[in-house]
Amino acid sequence: MTPAIEVRNLRFSYHDQKTALDGVSFSVAEGECVALVGPNGAGKSTLLQHLNGLLPEKFGPDPAVAIFGRPVSVESLEETHRKVGFLFQDSDDQLFCPTVYEDVAFGPQQFGGDGREISRIVRESLAKVGLEGFADRIPHHLSAGEKQRVCLAGILACEPSILVLDEPTSDLDPRSKRGLVALLKSLPVTKVIASHDLELVVQLCPRTILLDGGRVVADGATMRLLADEELMLRHGLEKPHSLQHLHPHGGG
């Protein structure tokens, strides 16, 4: 079966010559939920931006990323944007329209669609994230949790098959976080989640990829990886509390 995401030997450096990604390879099967963890500056955000074609700005002749078997290139960019929904770390970056309705409608409008169809999609997407009745609200009057849910509704409105989330819980209080976990669990799409919030990873992702210095350091079952205290500490992380009593090699 074609994997949902296939990354082969991805290398990338920013203009300042610093190597951000140094030969990253992995693949994600359809329906999988994978966590991407690693210290600050490991290359997590850079990697995520490659998954829906926001990076690189200029594509080389041999694209390193393929989505459902189709290489991400200039020609396939629109399809990629459509298939891969991207939740940004700062909701204010993503909520760029004057009202909630217009923001959720933005994607469907870009991809073409008639007015009645779009208003149905907006209504359904807002209902999915539990924000019925928010259509006329103004983004700057919303709480951080509500803003993020509007962002998610805006992504869901594009009906993506893959969700890419960059630090989805960094701004949320515990209640909003529980809501987000429940919401993400209910979405039957492929998910890649970059996070420092390892409890979230334990709750949501059976598989974890550990990134450091632009390389994949480890890739495997979340319970085994995150319970390995030495590995976690070596890469600027720590064993989550919920796994404190779990031995990395079984037993526990």
């Binding site: 944007h81 929904g85 991207f86 940004f88 760029f96 329209c97 004057p98 217009e102 933005f106 870009q110």
Partner: protein, 205 residues
């Protein structure tokens, strides 16, 4: 938050003027501006008087506090006065000055009433519907959206500065403010890039 309120506060009041549909209200405001600008003077003074009376009545119905309207007017008037004062140096300058002042005050009042009683998003929809180019409407929409984000950002920076400022002094605080303004430019440029990324991610071309 204070600045937020200055910009947006009275849009949420409920009054007959607030409830008017945006299209007709927008047209009425445009008509007021057109008449105020085009009517010949001195023959047209009664017309201007009529407009002034209509606007004052509308302002009364709008339930906007008069002090708010006057403050807004005073805030914007200097721009007009700057141009009008030049007329004083011409022959018969005084009458030109007075007529410029009267016309522009009426225009300003009409626009203040319109903008203070209409949700900005709805104004944007109206100007898009009457055929203002999409790119211009998008720029206005983004400006409105990020104005508040920037105000918050500036507020946070100012607070962070003042929490580490031990000696207050005018010169020093001007220096700090210029630093904040510079920082805002840099941060906004960064944000612009991220917002553009977010727009592309949802299919913007």
């Amino acid at each position: 938050m204070a600045l937020h309120d200055l910009i947006d506060h009275y849009r949420r009041v409920d009054s007959p003027i607030h409830r008017l549909r945006t299209g007709p209200k927008f047209t009425a405001a445009l008509v007021v501006v057109a008449v105020a600008v085009a009517v010949p003077l001195p023959a047209g003074w009664p017309w201007l008087g009529l407009l002034a009376a209509a606007l004052v009545i509308a302002a009364g119905f709008s339930q906007l506090p008069p002090s708010f309207l006057v403050r807004r007017l005073l805030l914007l008037e200097p721009f007009v006065l700057g141009a009008a004062v030049l007329a004083l140096f011409r022959p018969h300058g005084l009458s030109v000055f007075v007529s410029l002042l009267a016309r522009s005050t009426l225009c300003l009042l009409a626009m203040i009433l319109l903008s203070a009683t209409t949700p900005f998003a709805s104004l944007l929809r109206t100007i898009r519907d009457i055929g203002v180019p999409k790119i211009l409407v998008s720029v206005l929409a983004l400006m409105y959206r990020y104005l508040f984000v920037m105000i918050d950002e500036a507020d946070r920076m100012r607070r962070a500065r003042s929490s580490r400022t031990f000696k207050a002094g005018r010169a020093r605080s001007w220096g700090a403010s210029s630093g904040i303004i510079g920082q805002l430019f840099v941060r906004s440029a960064g944000r612009a890039e991220r917002v553009y990324g977010a727009m592309c991610a949802r299919g913007w071309r």
